[in-house]
Amino acid sequence: MTEPKKVLVACGTGVATSTVVAQAVQAAMKDRGIAIVTRQCKASEVPSQIGDVDLVISTTPLPKDLPRPAIVTLAFLTGIGKDRELEKITEILSR
Protein backbone atom coordinates (compact mmCIF):
# COMPACT_ATOMS: atom_id res chain seq x y z
CA MET A 1 0.00 0.00 0.00
CA THR A 2 1.58 3.23 -1.12
CA GLU A 3 1.12 6.48 0.77
CA PRO A 4 -1.82 8.50 -0.59
CA LYS A 5 -0.74 11.53 -2.62
CA LYS A 6 -1.27 14.88 -0.96
CA VAL A 7 -3.15 17.50 -2.93
CA LEU A 8 -3.47 21.07 -1.69
CA VAL A 9 -6.58 22.80 -3.07
CA ALA A 10 -6.59 26.59 -2.88
CA CYS A 11 -9.08 29.35 -3.53
CA GLY A 12 -9.84 32.82 -2.20
CA THR A 13 -11.37 31.68 1.09
CA GLY A 14 -10.21 28.07 1.45
CA VAL A 15 -13.90 27.27 1.90
CA ALA A 16 -16.05 27.80 -1.15
CA THR A 17 -14.73 26.98 -4.62
CA SER A 18 -11.87 24.88 -3.22
CA THR A 19 -14.46 22.55 -1.65
CA VAL A 20 -16.09 22.03 -5.05
CA VAL A 21 -12.70 21.28 -6.64
CA ALA A 22 -11.54 19.03 -3.78
CA GLN A 23 -14.68 16.91 -3.98
CA ALA A 24 -14.55 16.65 -7.76
CA VAL A 25 -10.86 15.65 -7.78
CA GLN A 26 -11.34 13.15 -4.95
CA ALA A 27 -14.18 11.44 -6.82
CA ALA A 28 -12.30 11.39 -10.13
CA MET A 29 -9.09 10.02 -8.59
CA LYS A 30 -11.02 7.35 -6.73
CA ASP A 31 -12.42 6.18 -10.08
CA ARG A 32 -8.89 6.00 -11.45
CA GLY A 33 -7.65 4.05 -8.43
CA ILE A 34 -5.30 6.80 -7.24
CA ALA A 35 -5.38 7.31 -3.47
CA ILE A 36 -5.26 11.00 -2.53
CA VAL A 37 -5.87 13.17 0.48
CA THR A 38 -6.83 16.79 -0.05
CA ARG A 39 -6.32 19.78 2.15
CA GLN A 40 -7.79 23.23 1.50
CA CYS A 41 -6.36 26.66 2.10
CA LYS A 42 -6.41 30.25 0.88
CA ALA A 43 -4.17 31.11 -2.07
CA SER A 44 -2.10 33.37 0.17
CA GLU A 45 -1.37 30.42 2.50
CA VAL A 46 -0.03 28.17 -0.29
CA PRO A 47 3.67 29.04 0.23
CA SER A 48 3.46 28.08 3.93
CA GLN A 49 1.37 24.94 3.32
CA ILE A 50 3.16 23.57 0.28
CA GLY A 51 5.97 21.69 2.07
CA ASP A 52 4.70 18.11 1.94
CA VAL A 53 2.26 18.17 -0.96
CA ASP A 54 2.51 16.46 -4.35
CA LEU A 55 0.32 18.90 -6.25
CA VAL A 56 -1.39 22.25 -5.78
CA ILE A 57 -4.70 22.93 -7.57
CA SER A 58 -6.07 26.46 -7.36
CA THR A 59 -9.05 28.35 -8.74
CA THR A 60 -7.29 31.69 -8.32
CA PRO A 61 -3.84 33.00 -9.35
CA LEU A 62 -1.00 31.61 -7.23
CA PRO A 63 2.27 33.20 -6.11
CA LYS A 64 5.09 32.63 -8.59
CA ASP A 65 8.01 30.16 -8.28
CA LEU A 66 6.33 27.50 -6.16
CA PRO A 67 8.56 24.49 -5.38
CA ARG A 68 5.87 21.92 -6.30
CA PRO A 69 3.72 21.32 -9.38
CA ALA A 70 0.71 23.63 -9.46
CA ILE A 71 -2.36 23.85 -11.69
CA VAL A 72 -4.59 26.94 -11.81
CA THR A 73 -7.90 26.00 -13.37
CA LEU A 74 -11.59 26.94 -13.51
CA ALA A 75 -12.51 23.68 -15.27
CA PHE A 76 -14.07 22.10 -12.19
CA LEU A 77 -16.32 25.14 -11.73
CA THR A 78 -17.34 25.70 -15.35
CA GLY A 79 -17.24 22.05 -16.48
CA ILE A 80 -15.31 23.17 -19.60
CA GLY A 81 -12.05 21.29 -20.18
CA LYS A 82 -12.48 19.17 -17.06
CA ASP A 83 -11.26 15.95 -18.70
CA ARG A 84 -8.06 17.58 -19.91
CA GLU A 85 -7.30 18.90 -16.40
CA LEU A 86 -8.02 15.48 -14.91
CA GLU A 87 -5.53 13.94 -17.37
CA LYS A 88 -2.89 16.44 -16.23
CA ILE A 89 -3.62 15.75 -12.56
CA THR A 90 -3.54 11.98 -13.11
CA GLU A 91 -0.22 12.26 -14.89
CA ILE A 92 1.38 14.31 -12.11
CA LEU A 93 0.02 12.07 -9.34
CA SER A 94 1.03 8.86 -11.14
CA ARG A 95 4.70 9.82 -11.13
Binding site: A10, C11, G12, T13, G14, V15, A16, T17, T19, V20, Q23, Q40, K42, A43, S44, E45, S48, S58, T59, T60, P61, L62, P63, L74, L77, T78, G79, I80
Partner: protein, 472 residues
Protein backbone atom coordinates in the same frame (compact mmCIF):
# COMPACT_ATOMS: atom_id res chain seq x y z
CA UNK B 1 -51.37 11.73 33.07
CA UNK B 2 -50.55 15.35 32.64
CA UNK B 3 -47.02 14.38 31.74
CA UNK B 4 -48.26 12.29 28.84
CA UNK B 5 -50.61 14.93 27.57
CA UNK B 6 -48.19 17.81 27.71
CA UNK B 7 -44.99 15.89 27.10
CA UNK B 8 -42.10 15.52 29.50
CA UNK B 9 -40.71 18.69 30.99
CA UNK B 10 -37.24 18.92 29.50
CA UNK B 11 -36.56 22.37 30.78
CA UNK B 12 -37.25 24.11 27.51
CA UNK B 13 -40.21 24.57 25.25
CA UNK B 14 -40.20 22.75 21.93
CA UNK B 15 -42.27 25.53 20.47
CA UNK B 16 -39.66 28.09 21.48
CA UNK B 17 -36.85 25.91 20.22
CA UNK B 18 -38.65 25.36 16.93
CA UNK B 19 -39.50 29.00 16.44
CA UNK B 20 -36.62 30.93 15.06
CA UNK B 21 -34.51 27.85 14.31
CA UNK B 22 -35.30 27.91 10.62
CA UNK B 23 -31.78 26.97 9.73
CA UNK B 24 -31.45 23.96 11.96
CA UNK B 25 -35.01 22.74 11.71
CA UNK B 26 -36.11 23.41 8.16
CA UNK B 27 -33.06 23.83 6.00
CA UNK B 28 -32.00 20.13 6.18
CA UNK B 29 -35.52 19.15 5.08
CA UNK B 30 -35.46 21.64 2.22
CA UNK B 31 -31.97 20.54 1.19
CA UNK B 32 -33.11 16.90 1.21
CA UNK B 33 -36.08 17.69 -1.04
CA UNK B 34 -34.08 19.93 -3.39
CA UNK B 35 -31.33 17.30 -3.67
CA UNK B 36 -33.96 14.70 -4.64
CA UNK B 37 -35.50 17.07 -7.19
CA UNK B 38 -32.07 17.57 -8.76
CA UNK B 39 -31.59 13.80 -9.05
CA UNK B 40 -29.46 12.92 -6.03
CA UNK B 41 -29.97 9.41 -4.60
CA UNK B 42 -32.02 9.42 -1.34
CA UNK B 43 -29.19 8.14 0.86
CA UNK B 44 -26.77 10.76 -0.41
CA UNK B 45 -29.43 13.47 -0.14
CA UNK B 46 -30.13 12.45 3.46
CA UNK B 47 -26.46 12.53 4.37
CA UNK B 48 -26.09 15.95 2.73
CA UNK B 49 -29.12 17.24 4.63
CA UNK B 50 -27.73 15.92 7.88
CA UNK B 51 -24.39 17.64 7.34
CA UNK B 52 -26.25 20.90 6.73
CA UNK B 53 -27.98 20.48 10.09
CA UNK B 54 -24.69 19.57 11.77
CA UNK B 55 -22.95 22.55 10.20
CA UNK B 56 -25.63 24.84 11.61
CA UNK B 57 -25.18 23.47 15.11
CA UNK B 58 -21.40 23.85 14.78
CA UNK B 59 -21.46 27.33 13.33
CA UNK B 60 -23.94 28.60 15.92
CA UNK B 61 -21.74 27.21 18.72
CA UNK B 62 -18.61 28.86 17.33
CA UNK B 63 -20.40 32.17 16.73
CA UNK B 64 -21.70 32.08 20.32
CA UNK B 65 -18.20 31.72 21.76
CA UNK B 66 -16.60 34.16 19.33
CA UNK B 67 -19.25 36.89 19.65
CA UNK B 68 -19.24 36.69 23.43
CA UNK B 69 -15.42 36.98 23.74
CA UNK B 70 -15.23 39.83 21.22
CA UNK B 71 -18.18 41.58 22.84
CA UNK B 72 -16.68 41.28 26.32
CA UNK B 73 -13.33 42.69 25.25
CA UNK B 74 -14.97 45.54 23.31
CA UNK B 75 -17.06 46.42 26.40
CA UNK B 76 -13.96 46.30 28.60
CA UNK B 77 -12.19 48.66 26.18
CA UNK B 78 -15.23 50.97 26.14
CA UNK B 79 -15.29 51.09 29.93
CA UNK B 80 -11.59 51.89 30.04
CA UNK B 81 -11.11 54.27 27.12
CA UNK B 82 -14.60 55.55 26.37
CA UNK B 83 -14.26 54.27 22.79
CA UNK B 84 -17.58 52.49 22.28
CA UNK B 85 -17.45 49.86 19.53
CA UNK B 86 -20.39 47.65 20.37
CA UNK B 87 -21.20 46.32 16.89
CA UNK B 88 -18.97 43.33 16.28
CA UNK B 89 -17.81 42.32 12.79
CA UNK B 90 -18.59 38.60 13.00
CA UNK B 91 -17.59 37.90 9.45
CA UNK B 92 -19.08 36.45 6.28
CA UNK B 93 -19.43 32.93 7.70
CA UNK B 94 -21.91 34.41 10.19
CA UNK B 95 -23.63 36.35 7.41
CA UNK B 96 -23.96 33.16 5.34
CA UNK B 97 -25.42 31.35 8.35
CA UNK B 98 -27.98 34.13 8.85
CA UNK B 99 -28.78 33.97 5.14
CA UNK B 100 -29.37 30.22 4.91
CA UNK B 101 -30.92 30.10 8.38
CA UNK B 102 -33.54 32.73 7.62
CA UNK B 103 -37.05 32.19 6.28
CA UNK B 104 -36.00 33.58 2.89
CA UNK B 105 -32.95 31.30 2.86
CA UNK B 106 -35.17 28.33 2.18
CA UNK B 107 -36.31 29.89 -1.09
CA UNK B 108 -33.14 31.45 -2.37
CA UNK B 109 -32.00 28.64 -4.66
CA UNK B 110 -35.29 28.21 -6.57
CA UNK B 111 -35.79 32.00 -6.78
CA UNK B 112 -32.22 32.66 -7.88
CA UNK B 113 -32.45 30.00 -10.59
CA UNK B 114 -35.85 31.19 -11.80
CA UNK B 115 -34.68 34.82 -12.09
CA UNK B 116 -31.52 33.77 -13.90
CA UNK B 117 -33.31 31.54 -16.40
CA UNK B 118 -35.99 34.15 -17.06
CA UNK B 119 -33.45 36.93 -17.69
CA UNK B 120 -31.37 34.65 -19.93
CA UNK B 121 -34.30 33.46 -22.03
CA UNK B 122 -35.49 37.05 -22.55
CA UNK B 123 -31.99 38.10 -23.55
CA UNK B 124 -31.78 40.66 -20.75
CA UNK B 125 -28.64 39.10 -19.26
CA UNK B 126 -25.80 37.10 -20.77
CA UNK B 127 -24.67 35.59 -17.47
CA UNK B 128 -25.52 32.17 -16.19
CA UNK B 129 -24.67 32.31 -12.50
CA UNK B 130 -23.63 28.74 -11.64
CA UNK B 131 -22.10 29.86 -8.34
CA UNK B 132 -25.13 28.61 -6.42
CA UNK B 133 -23.30 28.70 -3.09
CA UNK B 134 -23.05 32.49 -3.27
CA UNK B 135 -26.79 32.83 -3.71
CA UNK B 136 -26.54 33.28 0.06
CA UNK B 137 -25.71 36.95 -0.57
CA UNK B 138 -29.20 37.42 -2.07
CA UNK B 139 -30.71 35.58 0.89
CA UNK B 140 -28.80 37.68 3.41
CA UNK B 141 -30.09 40.95 1.98
CA UNK B 142 -33.56 39.40 1.79
CA UNK B 143 -33.26 38.32 5.44
CA UNK B 144 -32.27 41.87 6.45
CA UNK B 145 -35.26 43.29 4.58
CA UNK B 146 -37.47 40.71 6.27
CA UNK B 147 -36.06 41.69 9.68
CA UNK B 148 -36.48 45.39 8.91
CA UNK B 149 -40.00 45.25 7.47
CA UNK B 150 -41.45 42.06 8.97
CA UNK B 151 -42.74 41.14 5.52
CA UNK B 152 -41.78 37.79 4.01
CA UNK B 153 -43.05 38.92 0.59
CA UNK B 154 -40.71 41.93 0.63
CA UNK B 155 -37.87 39.68 1.76
CA UNK B 156 -38.47 37.26 -1.11
CA UNK B 157 -38.95 40.14 -3.58
CA UNK B 158 -35.60 41.52 -2.49
CA UNK B 159 -33.96 38.13 -3.05
CA UNK B 160 -35.21 38.14 -6.65
CA UNK B 161 -34.11 41.74 -7.24
CA UNK B 162 -30.62 41.21 -5.81
CA UNK B 163 -30.27 38.10 -7.98
CA UNK B 164 -31.11 40.26 -11.02
CA UNK B 165 -28.79 43.06 -9.89
CA UNK B 166 -25.87 40.65 -9.53
CA UNK B 167 -26.45 39.55 -13.13
CA UNK B 168 -26.42 43.17 -14.29
CA UNK B 169 -23.07 43.76 -12.60
CA UNK B 170 -21.73 40.51 -13.97
CA UNK B 171 -22.66 41.53 -17.52
CA UNK B 172 -21.18 44.98 -16.98
CA UNK B 173 -17.76 43.84 -15.83
CA UNK B 174 -17.54 40.58 -17.81
CA UNK B 175 -15.24 41.86 -20.54
CA UNK B 176 -13.02 43.71 -18.05
CA UNK B 177 -12.68 40.60 -15.89
CA UNK B 178 -12.00 38.39 -18.89
CA UNK B 179 -9.33 40.70 -20.34
CA UNK B 180 -7.60 41.68 -17.12
CA UNK B 181 -7.47 38.25 -15.51
CA UNK B 182 -7.21 36.26 -18.74
CA UNK B 183 -10.22 34.05 -18.08
CA UNK B 184 -12.37 33.85 -21.22
CA UNK B 185 -16.10 33.16 -20.95
CA UNK B 186 -16.28 33.93 -17.24
CA UNK B 187 -17.56 36.75 -15.02
CA UNK B 188 -18.22 37.29 -11.32
CA UNK B 189 -21.79 38.08 -10.21
CA UNK B 190 -20.64 38.36 -6.60
CA UNK B 191 -22.31 41.20 -4.66
CA UNK B 192 -19.44 41.73 -2.22
CA UNK B 193 -17.06 42.30 -5.14
CA UNK B 194 -19.16 44.04 -7.80
CA UNK B 195 -20.33 46.71 -5.34
CA UNK B 196 -16.93 48.40 -5.74
CA UNK B 197 -17.42 49.22 -9.46
CA UNK B 198 -19.20 52.59 -9.14
CA UNK B 199 -16.98 53.64 -6.23
CA UNK B 200 -13.83 52.61 -8.07
CA UNK B 201 -14.83 54.48 -11.23
CA UNK B 202 -15.57 57.67 -9.26
CA UNK B 203 -12.44 57.54 -7.08
CA UNK B 204 -10.22 56.69 -10.04
CA UNK B 205 -11.65 59.63 -11.98
CA UNK B 206 -10.74 61.94 -9.08
CA UNK B 207 -7.24 60.48 -8.75
CA UNK B 208 -6.66 61.21 -12.45
CA UNK B 209 -7.20 64.93 -11.66
CA UNK B 210 -4.57 65.08 -8.90
CA UNK B 211 -1.09 65.59 -10.38
CA UNK B 212 1.06 63.95 -7.68
CA UNK B 213 -1.26 61.09 -6.79
CA UNK B 214 -1.76 60.25 -10.45
CA UNK B 215 1.81 58.98 -10.77
CA UNK B 216 1.96 56.81 -7.65
CA UNK B 217 2.06 53.02 -7.59
CA UNK B 218 3.53 50.34 -5.33
CA UNK B 219 5.06 46.99 -6.11
CA UNK B 220 2.57 44.26 -5.29
CA UNK B 221 5.21 41.57 -4.69
CA UNK B 222 7.17 43.71 -2.20
CA UNK B 223 4.03 44.60 -0.25
CA UNK B 224 2.97 40.96 -0.06
CA UNK B 225 6.43 39.89 1.15
CA UNK B 226 6.53 42.55 3.89
CA UNK B 227 2.95 42.28 5.14
CA UNK B 228 2.26 38.61 4.36
CA UNK B 229 1.78 37.72 8.04
CA UNK B 230 -1.38 39.86 8.16
CA UNK B 231 -2.93 37.54 5.58
CA UNK B 232 -2.82 34.58 8.00
CA UNK B 233 -6.22 34.52 9.77
CA UNK B 234 -5.06 32.74 12.92
CA UNK B 235 -1.97 34.91 13.41
CA UNK B 236 -4.07 38.01 12.75
CA UNK B 237 -6.75 36.81 15.18
CA UNK B 238 -4.18 36.03 17.86
CA UNK B 239 -2.16 39.24 17.70
CA UNK B 240 -5.18 41.46 17.29
CA UNK B 241 -6.85 39.63 20.21
CA UNK B 242 -3.72 40.01 22.30
CA UNK B 243 -3.67 43.74 21.58
CA UNK B 244 -7.38 44.19 22.34
CA UNK B 245 -7.02 42.12 25.51
CA UNK B 246 -4.08 44.25 26.64
CA UNK B 247 -6.08 47.45 26.18
CA UNK B 248 -9.25 46.03 27.71
CA UNK B 249 -7.77 44.25 30.72
CA UNK B 250 -4.60 46.26 31.45
CA UNK B 251 -3.89 46.36 35.17
CA UNK B 252 -0.46 47.78 35.96
CA UNK B 253 -0.49 46.36 39.51
CA UNK B 254 -1.08 42.84 38.21
CA UNK B 255 1.07 42.34 35.10
CA UNK B 256 0.67 38.56 35.32
CA UNK B 257 -3.14 38.68 35.36
CA UNK B 258 -3.10 41.20 32.52
CA UNK B 259 -0.89 38.98 30.38
CA UNK B 260 -2.91 35.85 31.11
CA UNK B 261 -6.18 37.61 30.25
CA UNK B 262 -4.79 39.14 27.07
CA UNK B 263 -3.28 35.82 26.04
CA UNK B 264 -6.61 34.06 26.63
CA UNK B 265 -8.40 36.61 24.45
CA UNK B 266 -5.76 36.15 21.74
CA UNK B 267 -6.10 32.36 21.70
CA UNK B 268 -9.93 32.47 21.79
CA UNK B 269 -10.07 34.89 18.89
CA UNK B 270 -7.50 32.92 16.88
CA UNK B 271 -9.71 29.89 17.53
CA UNK B 272 -12.75 31.78 16.21
CA UNK B 273 -10.87 32.84 13.06
CA UNK B 274 -9.84 29.25 12.40
CA UNK B 275 -13.03 27.42 13.43
CA UNK B 276 -15.63 29.65 11.80
CA UNK B 277 -14.64 28.91 8.18
CA UNK B 278 -13.94 25.32 9.20
CA UNK B 279 -17.49 24.62 10.36
CA UNK B 280 -18.87 26.60 7.46
CA UNK B 281 -17.05 24.24 5.09
CA UNK B 282 -19.30 21.46 6.41
CA UNK B 283 -22.30 23.53 5.32
CA UNK B 284 -20.71 24.08 1.90
CA UNK B 285 -20.09 20.33 1.55
CA UNK B 286 -23.66 19.52 2.54
CA UNK B 287 -24.95 21.89 -0.12
CA UNK B 288 -22.84 20.41 -2.92
CA UNK B 289 -25.43 17.87 -4.15
CA UNK B 290 -27.90 20.75 -4.48
CA UNK B 291 -25.49 23.27 -5.98
CA UNK B 292 -24.14 20.68 -8.44
CA UNK B 293 -27.64 19.53 -9.29
CA UNK B 294 -28.87 23.08 -9.78
CA UNK B 295 -25.93 23.86 -12.07
CA UNK B 296 -26.60 20.81 -14.24
CA UNK B 297 -30.30 21.68 -14.25
CA UNK B 298 -29.64 25.11 -15.83
CA UNK B 299 -26.97 23.79 -18.14
CA UNK B 300 -29.33 21.11 -19.48
CA UNK B 301 -32.14 23.58 -20.05
CA UNK B 302 -30.06 26.27 -21.69
CA UNK B 303 -28.13 23.83 -23.84
CA UNK B 304 -25.53 25.28 -26.15
CA UNK B 305 -26.62 28.92 -25.78
CA UNK B 306 -23.69 31.33 -25.74
CA UNK B 307 -23.43 32.51 -22.14
CA UNK B 308 -20.98 34.09 -19.74
CA UNK B 309 -20.47 31.74 -16.81
CA UNK B 310 -20.83 33.48 -13.46
CA UNK B 311 -18.41 32.25 -10.78
CA UNK B 312 -17.29 33.14 -7.26
CA UNK B 313 -14.97 36.18 -7.19
CA UNK B 314 -12.73 33.88 -5.16
CA UNK B 315 -11.22 33.07 -8.60
CA UNK B 316 -9.79 36.57 -9.09
CA UNK B 317 -8.62 37.53 -5.63
CA UNK B 318 -5.35 35.61 -5.91
CA UNK B 319 -4.18 38.42 -8.23
CA UNK B 320 -1.09 40.11 -6.75
CA UNK B 321 -2.69 43.60 -6.82
CA UNK B 322 -5.79 42.44 -4.93
CA UNK B 323 -3.68 40.61 -2.34
CA UNK B 324 -1.24 43.47 -1.84
CA UNK B 325 -3.82 46.23 -1.57
CA UNK B 326 -5.95 44.12 0.79
CA UNK B 327 -2.94 43.58 3.10
CA UNK B 328 -2.35 47.34 3.29
CA UNK B 329 -6.06 47.83 3.92
CA UNK B 330 -6.05 45.62 7.04
CA UNK B 331 -4.30 48.22 9.26
CA UNK B 332 -6.26 50.96 7.44
CA UNK B 333 -9.53 49.25 8.37
CA UNK B 334 -8.43 48.89 12.01
CA UNK B 335 -7.47 52.58 12.13
CA UNK B 336 -10.78 53.62 10.55
CA UNK B 337 -12.64 51.44 13.04
CA UNK B 338 -11.01 53.34 15.92
CA UNK B 339 -10.91 56.85 14.44
CA UNK B 340 -14.13 57.39 12.47
CA UNK B 341 -16.49 59.57 14.51
CA UNK B 342 -19.92 58.04 15.02
CA UNK B 343 -18.72 54.58 14.02
CA UNK B 344 -19.79 51.74 16.32
CA UNK B 345 -18.26 48.82 14.41
CA UNK B 346 -15.30 46.85 15.71
CA UNK B 347 -13.72 45.25 12.62
CA UNK B 348 -12.29 41.82 13.15
CA UNK B 349 -13.38 38.63 11.44
CA UNK B 350 -13.75 39.92 7.90
CA UNK B 351 -10.39 41.69 7.81
CA UNK B 352 -9.35 38.60 5.85
CA UNK B 353 -11.95 39.13 3.12
CA UNK B 354 -10.86 42.62 2.09
CA UNK B 355 -9.43 41.15 -1.15
CA UNK B 356 -13.02 40.40 -2.20
CA UNK B 357 -14.00 44.02 -1.62
CA UNK B 358 -11.27 45.55 -3.80
CA UNK B 359 -10.55 42.84 -6.41
CA UNK B 360 -12.82 44.23 -9.13
CA UNK B 361 -11.22 47.67 -8.91
CA UNK B 362 -8.07 46.11 -10.38
CA UNK B 363 -9.16 46.14 -14.06
CA UNK B 364 -10.29 49.79 -13.72
CA UNK B 365 -6.95 51.00 -12.32
CA UNK B 366 -4.87 48.45 -14.29
CA UNK B 367 -3.74 46.81 -11.05
CA UNK B 368 -2.34 50.01 -9.49
CA UNK B 369 -1.96 49.10 -5.79
CA UNK B 370 -2.00 52.69 -4.45
CA UNK B 371 -5.23 53.46 -6.26
CA UNK B 372 -6.80 50.21 -5.07
CA UNK B 373 -5.90 51.12 -1.47
CA UNK B 374 -7.55 54.54 -1.89
CA UNK B 375 -10.66 52.98 -3.45
CA UNK B 376 -10.72 50.42 -0.64
CA UNK B 377 -10.40 53.17 1.99
CA UNK B 378 -13.37 55.05 0.55
CA UNK B 379 -15.42 51.84 0.30
CA UNK B 380 -14.62 50.86 3.89
CA UNK B 381 -15.26 54.36 5.29
CA UNK B 382 -18.69 54.31 3.69
CA UNK B 383 -19.08 50.73 4.93
CA UNK B 384 -18.53 51.60 8.59
CA UNK B 385 -21.47 54.03 8.51
CA UNK B 386 -23.66 51.61 6.56
CA UNK B 387 -22.92 48.81 9.05
CA UNK B 388 -23.52 51.13 12.02
CA UNK B 389 -26.88 52.16 10.55
CA UNK B 390 -27.91 48.54 9.86
CA UNK B 391 -26.60 46.96 13.08
CA UNK B 392 -29.96 46.56 14.82
CA UNK B 393 -31.50 44.99 11.71
CA UNK B 394 -28.49 42.70 11.26
CA UNK B 395 -28.68 41.57 14.89
CA UNK B 396 -32.41 40.94 14.63
CA UNK B 397 -31.86 38.82 11.51
CA UNK B 398 -29.16 36.84 13.37
CA UNK B 399 -31.48 36.16 16.30
CA UNK B 400 -34.24 35.13 13.84
CA UNK B 401 -31.81 32.60 12.35
CA UNK B 402 -31.22 31.00 15.74
CA UNK B 403 -28.01 32.76 16.83
CA UNK B 404 -28.22 33.80 20.49
CA UNK B 405 -27.15 37.34 21.39
CA UNK B 406 -24.49 37.19 24.13
CA UNK B 407 -25.08 38.51 27.64
CA UNK B 408 -22.84 41.54 27.02
CA UNK B 409 -25.58 42.94 24.76
CA UNK B 410 -23.32 43.80 21.82
CA UNK B 411 -24.76 43.82 18.30
CA UNK B 412 -23.23 42.24 15.21
CA UNK B 413 -22.53 42.89 11.56
CA UNK B 414 -20.19 41.49 8.90
CA UNK B 415 -18.02 43.41 6.48
CA UNK B 416 -19.43 41.09 3.80
CA UNK B 417 -22.20 42.18 3.13
CA UNK B 418 -23.03 44.54 6.01
CA UNK B 419 -20.59 47.16 4.64
CA UNK B 420 -22.07 47.18 1.18
CA UNK B 421 -24.15 50.04 -0.31
CA UNK B 422 -26.35 47.57 -2.19
CA UNK B 423 -27.46 46.15 1.16
CA UNK B 424 -28.17 49.61 2.51
CA UNK B 425 -30.12 50.64 -0.58
CA UNK B 426 -32.33 47.54 -0.42
CA UNK B 427 -33.06 47.90 3.30
CA UNK B 428 -33.53 51.69 3.22
CA UNK B 429 -35.92 51.58 0.23
CA UNK B 430 -38.11 48.79 1.59
CA UNK B 431 -38.08 49.98 5.18
CA UNK B 432 -38.76 53.60 4.24
CA UNK B 433 -41.23 53.19 1.39
CA UNK B 434 -42.60 49.65 1.63
CA UNK B 435 -43.76 48.16 -1.67
CA UNK B 436 -43.15 51.46 -3.42
CA UNK B 437 -39.52 51.15 -2.36
CA UNK B 438 -39.36 47.64 -3.77
CA UNK B 439 -40.84 48.96 -7.04
CA UNK B 440 -38.28 51.78 -7.18
CA UNK B 441 -35.49 49.26 -6.62
CA UNK B 442 -36.87 47.12 -9.47
CA UNK B 443 -37.08 50.18 -11.72
CA UNK B 444 -33.49 51.13 -10.93
CA UNK B 445 -32.27 47.65 -11.88
CA UNK B 446 -34.33 47.66 -15.07
CA UNK B 447 -32.88 51.07 -15.89
CA UNK B 448 -29.38 49.79 -15.29
CA UNK B 449 -29.92 46.90 -17.71
CA UNK B 450 -31.40 49.29 -20.27
CA UNK B 451 -28.36 51.58 -20.03
CA UNK B 452 -26.03 48.61 -20.40
CA UNK B 453 -27.83 47.43 -23.53
CA UNK B 454 -27.76 50.94 -25.00
CA UNK B 455 -24.18 51.94 -24.15
CA UNK B 456 -22.50 48.57 -23.73
CA UNK B 457 -19.08 49.38 -25.17
CA UNK B 458 -18.65 52.62 -23.21
CA UNK B 459 -19.79 51.08 -19.94
CA UNK B 460 -17.55 48.05 -20.43
CA UNK B 461 -14.60 50.40 -20.95
CA UNK B 462 -15.54 52.27 -17.77
CA UNK B 463 -15.43 48.97 -15.86
CA UNK B 464 -11.87 48.47 -17.11
CA UNK B 465 -12.17 46.59 -20.41
CA UNK B 466 -9.58 47.56 -23.02
CA UNK B 467 -10.81 49.12 -26.25
CA UNK B 468 -12.60 46.48 -28.27
CA UNK B 469 -10.31 44.85 -30.83
CA UNK B 470 -10.77 45.80 -34.50
CA UNK B 471 -12.48 42.97 -36.37
CA UNK B 472 -10.21 39.92 -36.15
Amino acid sequence: MDGILTGPDLGFSFAAAWQGLYGMAYLPVVIFCLALVFGTKPVKAASAALSVGIAFIGVVLVIGMFWSVLGDVSQAIAARTGIERDVIDMGWPTAATIAFGSQVGLWVIPIGLAVNIALLLTGITRTMNVDIWNYWHFALIGALVLAATGSLVMGLGTVALIAALSLFFSDWCARAVQRFYGIPGVSVPHILSVQVLPIAIAVNWMIEKIPFLRGLDANAETVTRRLGILGDPTALGFFLGLGLGMIGFLDLDNPVTTSVNAFAVGVSLAAGMMLLPYVLKILMEGLIPVTDGARQFVERRLGKREVTIGLDSSIVIGHPSAMASALILIPVAIALSVLLPGNRVLVFTDLVVIPFIVALAAPIVRGNVVRMVLIGTVTLTLGFYIATALSATFTLAAVDAGIAQPANGTELTAMGDGFVWVTYLAVALTQGLGYAGLAIFAALIAGAFALLHRYRAALERAAGADDPPKED
